[in-house]
Structures are given as structure tokens and as C-alpha cells.
Symmetry: C2
Subunit: 190 residues, 2 copies
Amino acid sequence: MDSLKKRIMQEGTNLGGGILKVDSFINHQVDPVLMDDCGAEFARLFAGVNPTRVLTAEISGIAPALMTARHMQLPVVYARKNKPITMPDQVYLTVAPSHTKGSMVELIVSPEYLGHGERVLIIDDFLASGSTIMGLARLAQAAGAELVGVGALIEKSFEGGREALRHLNVPIHSLVCISSMENGQITFCA
Amino acid sequence: MDSLKKRIMQEGTNLGGGILKVDSFINHQVDPVLMDDCGAEFARLFAGVNPTRVLTAEISGIAPALMTARHMQLPVVYARKNKPITMPDQVYLTVAPSHTKGSMVELIVSPEYLGHGERVLIIDDFLASGSTIMGLARLAQAAGAELVGVGALIEKSFEGGREALRHLNVPIHSLVCISSMENGQITFCA
């Protein structure tokens, strides 16, 4: 998606170690108009798989998932990383390695909002190693829901997430793909 | 706002201890259409104060703040509760007691996205004791920005937040006001 790619070129920073800083429009400050455009694009890309629910992980998945859900007129559920006191004791819980924290994080969804027969579209900010998205897919599976698609704003193809998710056998779309961040550069996929 | 009040009446649960569970449309699962309507209403209510930026706190403030920012065509910044590795070492940081966690949480904003001369509109999900919103107001003040308004989806007037924020001398709007949660009831303000 050209508008997102342009923003990455203008404002994205390669911090080294495969870390792309996009805090000025996605991860700390958010551009709601750009995010809404991304949501519209995901809605277009996934219109054919007929999801009934959008699933994401807090925190930075919320903005793109919410905008996608708005365009598809679907509820969005964000997996929590800490169980709030409002959640029942019986939950779906998995653990996934955090790319930016270097430790494991829990992903928790209440059975109240993810159930058998749902068609789940996962939307997140990054597709890197695919571990967070795999965690969300496990939650959907645990709930007896069917995964129907995976979307990410930015794919870092050099981290192999797409291959790791291939066995899920669902369409995977990223809006912008980065093939390399070697030597301080940001190289987009051809 | 009638649509939000109706949802609280239909799906809100009084868990006791002043805790209102609205996990089916705000805090875990989000209704993006309702949230967008709330954003439009905040945009209408605060059009006169000419904000240049919306400020909120992760996690559950993100959805209403993002939708408000969308309608006002402004950037939104969400204060982080943990400093991500993408953030510089010099930050604005304050601590606020967490209503639902029973402990103190940090609220952190990068100076990159909150600066002198900004006109800041704070949007959050709840106005209860006002402590999170006071924390956000302190961050805005530390940054040399001017606070111009405070909006919350749901005000629990019996927790006194509006009085606690009065000295800020800015317009405070909530879309739904709850005056009591005694005896398992949810009583709306007259």
C-alpha cells in the first residue's frame, strides 16, 4: 500500500537488530486517517473469506484491527497480556515470545468473545517471525473457531513469518513488505 | 449518548466494588461502529477547543481516542505503561494508581510526540477517580503543552473524578454518567 510505504520511507527508523521504529504513525503516536485507510484495504483484501470476528493482540495491533473491523462491520477482540479482573477464571491462554521484549508474553482471550463456529481474521501491526500470530491462531483453535485469514501492516520477510504460518493454509496479506534491514537500510520487497 | 447507555444497560455487568464490566463492547471485545459513533460525538463536543493532538493511555483508551482523532483528523498519542525499546531514554514519565490493578502504573510519553505549544485533548474509556487522567494531564504539562479538554466514555460520578479534575479548568465531557453502583445496580445520573 503506497501511502503506508511512503510513511515508512519518510519516518521509519532502522534501529538495528531488525527493529523498525514506526512510533510516529503506528506504535506510540497513531495517524488515524492512515490507519483507517489500512483498515479499508484489509477489508477489501479479506472480503472473500467472510470473517465473523477480527482478532488481534494488545497493544499495537488494536489500531489496525479496530479500523479493519470498522470497515467490515465486525466485532474485534484483542487478546490481553494480563488477565483483567473483569475476565472469568476460565480463559484461553497461550504464550508467545515477544520480539521487542526478549521474553515470553501471555495472550489471553475470554471464551465469552471467541467461540465455536466463529470465522476469525487475525490482524496485527507486524508479521515478523510469526510467533504472535501463531499464538493468536492457537487461541482461535482452542476456542473451536476457524481461522480464515491473517493480515499485517508491515511484513519483515527476512524473519520468515510467512513460511512459519504457511501450514495454517489461509490467505496472508501484508500491506508493506520489507526484505532486508541490513546495514542500516530499509529495503522493500521487489 | 443513548446508544452507549443502551449497551451498558444491555451488556454492562456490575461486578461489585465499583467495577463495571463492559468487556463485550469496550474493554476486550470492541464494537468499532459504536466506538466510531462515540468518536464522532467527542469530535462534536470538543470542536470549539481546537485541539492539535489527542492523548490517551494504553490499553483501553486507545479505541475511543483513535476514533475521536479520526473524526478530528488529528494524531493520537497513547501513553505507554512500559517503555518500549524504540523509545528514547529521555521521556516524560509519571505514575498513577490503577483502579483495576490495585497498584501503581507508569505512564510514559516520548518527547518526540508531545511538545510545547500543542493543544491536548485527553480521551479515555472511564472517568472514575480521575487519577489516570490527572497523570496524563501532568505529562502534557511536563511537555509544555496546553490541556484543552477531557473526555471519557463512561463517568462514575460517585468516585469524584470530575471534582478532582476541576482545577484543570478545562471542559470535561462524559458520554454516559453512572451515579451509583450500590447493591448490584447500575444507576445512571439524572
